[in-house]
Amino acid sequence: MKPISLKALVGAGALALALGQPAMAQNTIKIGSVLSVTGPASFLGEPEEKTLKMYVDKVNAEGGVNGKKLELIVYDDGGDANKARTFATRLVEDDKVVAMVGGSITGTSMAMIPVFEEAKIPFISLGGAIEIVEPVRKFVYKTPHTDRMACLKIFEDMRARKITKIGIISSTDGFGKSMREQCLKAAKEGGVEFIADETHGPGDADMTPQLTRIKNTPGIQALIHTGFGRHGAVVTRNVRQVGLTIPFYQNHGVASKSYIELSGEAANGVRLPAAALLVAEKLPDNDPQKPVVLAYKQHYEKTTGQPVSTFGGHAYDGFFILVEAMKRAKSTDPVKINEEIEKTKGFIGTGGIVNMSPTDHLGLDLSAFKMLEIKNGDWKLVQAGS
């Protein structure tokens, strides 16, 4: 008997692989995701992962996309940009995904951009900073509104209240610093002038010296705080402690129920820009976002038993922008899907109404933010100028 040659064996193996793969690809559409499920940014990655899994199951239960089931591949980068990049390469080379929704933070997203740009695979980031989509890259999008938009939204409200001279106190953590810079840059466009600029460390116990300085700044009409976490609440309490009575604006980074609870009485009258999701039930019935955010909120809270967060909402938006683009493209070719993502118009998400274009890969305008005021322990929608 003739021994089977090595060449024939390799050939047979290759044939099996070649036959096997298209067969697999025909059955499922692979969507990749790299999220910071653990580590310091886990408060972002955790709800994002839950949201993606939840809705992949839901779409599959309803028959999938273009008759094919979705297959979600999630890697956890722990907030580490190096790991994120490695996983991105794995998604592209080994898993052969057709699109990517993920990248919980700006750092990991920026590290993954070159991988997807090179592979020509659409990448919808959930990171905050404007750098992700500016300059516009052909295959990179993002869903969360930017810090700059939050600043402009605050300025819009200030203009309506005839406020022009303002102060800022910012946390020296990444988020607080970045938003401070964006606010200072956007000041001219927003028609305001910063006449006080103070900072505090992310773990500081007492910010009354800084706030006393701000209080003693002549002519100051309002104050903005940038930063997230418990310091937002500490600053709010200190503002009341030193007796600052000028309008006080917080930022979208503290927009959660726990901020109100932690600040207690001091939160009364504080205004902040936030996504519609936070006030889902309070939106007027004619608001086009209302059904979407309510449905997401209820589904998320029922499935996970945890209160909804805007971060999971970003993942919802990214996922459905992708699903709708795939439906329109009627194809699993990443380049064709990418073309359709860029044509997204009038998509109603939790973060706002998305209108993408070749020059705008974010697609949100200021209407994505609602201006809220805290009254007696709850959010209240405010109309600009009231």
Partner: protein, 290 residues
């Protein structure tokens, strides 16, 4: 003048907490030559346990006592399970063990509690007291009062009780202490328990002002360590002085210079002091005189 008073009280409040953390460092350092970097976690445990017991409906004073008890148990376990088995290892090894313990405690707190921030209601309400134009939280007075009581208690214990003398003897010369029949192992366990209790008390007093979360201890440990170095590592009085001074430096530079440089000002001051007086403001020698 109102600003000066505002900065002063702010500095004293923050400084009192640093001083309590520094005192915890000092107690353990004296008994064992270990710089216990898990000191900040005791502060976190004090705040978190009280907050969660409070949510569960336990009255605040009882919750605070239980929190201190929990911290003491954790402190004793830290000594028995991590430090004691490595006895005879170099001080550096032991210090690294405490860093490991602090990471472990933070991780455990994430799992047992959660990753959110929590608060304890202020003991005497949130309405600030206006004193010559400065707004002072009643809780600040609690912090200052609590710190003073703690310091006095520690000094009385050291000065008036046999056990306290044993601690002091162990601090000045461990071998000699052993030779005169002092059980230095008990002294070490005692110092871990006492440090944990002081840390937890600091956490309970400060949480109504600063709130707390599983990672609240990291920064406090760093600041407390800096304070202990400034005052002279190993000297309880130095720890108190160092803590108060560090708090005042920080808040006055935030108020009069610029908040961007407040940590820099504080740490540069410490460096300068250590250049001139390498063993801190009140160096080791003072310990022997107590």
């Amino acid at each position: 003048m109102p600003e000066f008073l505002q900065f002063l009280f702010s500095g004293l409040t923050v400084g009192a907490v640093y001083a309590m953390v520094a005192l915890g460092f000092t107690l353990i350092y004296n008994a064992s030559d270990v710089v216990n970097f898990a000191q900040g976690e005791f502060v976190m445990i004090g705040g978190m346990v009280t907050a969660f017991l409070g949510y569960a409906g336990v009255p605040l004073p009882l919750a605070a006592l239980l929190a201190i008890a929990v911290a003491i148990v954790v402190g004793l376990l830290l000594h028995a399970l991590a430090i004691e088995p490595a006895r005879g290892a170099s001080a550096v090894t032991l210090i690294i063990i405490t860093i490991g313990a602090s990471i472990f405690l933070r991780g455990a707190a994430q799992v047992i509690f959660d990753k959110q921030a929590h608060k304890i209601p202020a003991f005497s309400g949130d309405a600030p007291i206006t004193f010559m134009g400065a707004a002072i939280l009643p809780q600040s007075l609690w912090v200052l009062g609590g710190a003073v009581v703690t310091f006095v208690a520690i000094f009385l214990f050291m000065d008036r009780t046999l056990l306290g003398k044993a601690v002091l003897a162990t601090a000045s010369n461990r071998l000699a202490a052993q030779l005169v029949g002092i059980n230095t192992r008990t002294v070490m366990a005692l110092s871990f328990g006492a440090s944990a209790a002081i840390g937890a008390l600091a956490g309970i007093l400060i949480t109504p002002i600063t709130l707390t979360s599983y990672d609240a201890g990291i920064l406090l440990a760093l600041k407390g360590f800096a304070a202990a170095m400034l005052g002279g590592m190993g000297n309880p009085l130095g720890a108190v002085l160092g803590g108060i001074l560090l708090g005042l430096f920080e808040q006055f530079s935030a108020g009069y210079v610029s908040s961007s440089y407040k940590d820099a000002v504080a740490f540069i001051t410490i460096l300068l002091v250590l250049f001139v007086m390498p063993s801190g403001l009140l160096g080791r020698r003072a310990v022997e005189r107590v």
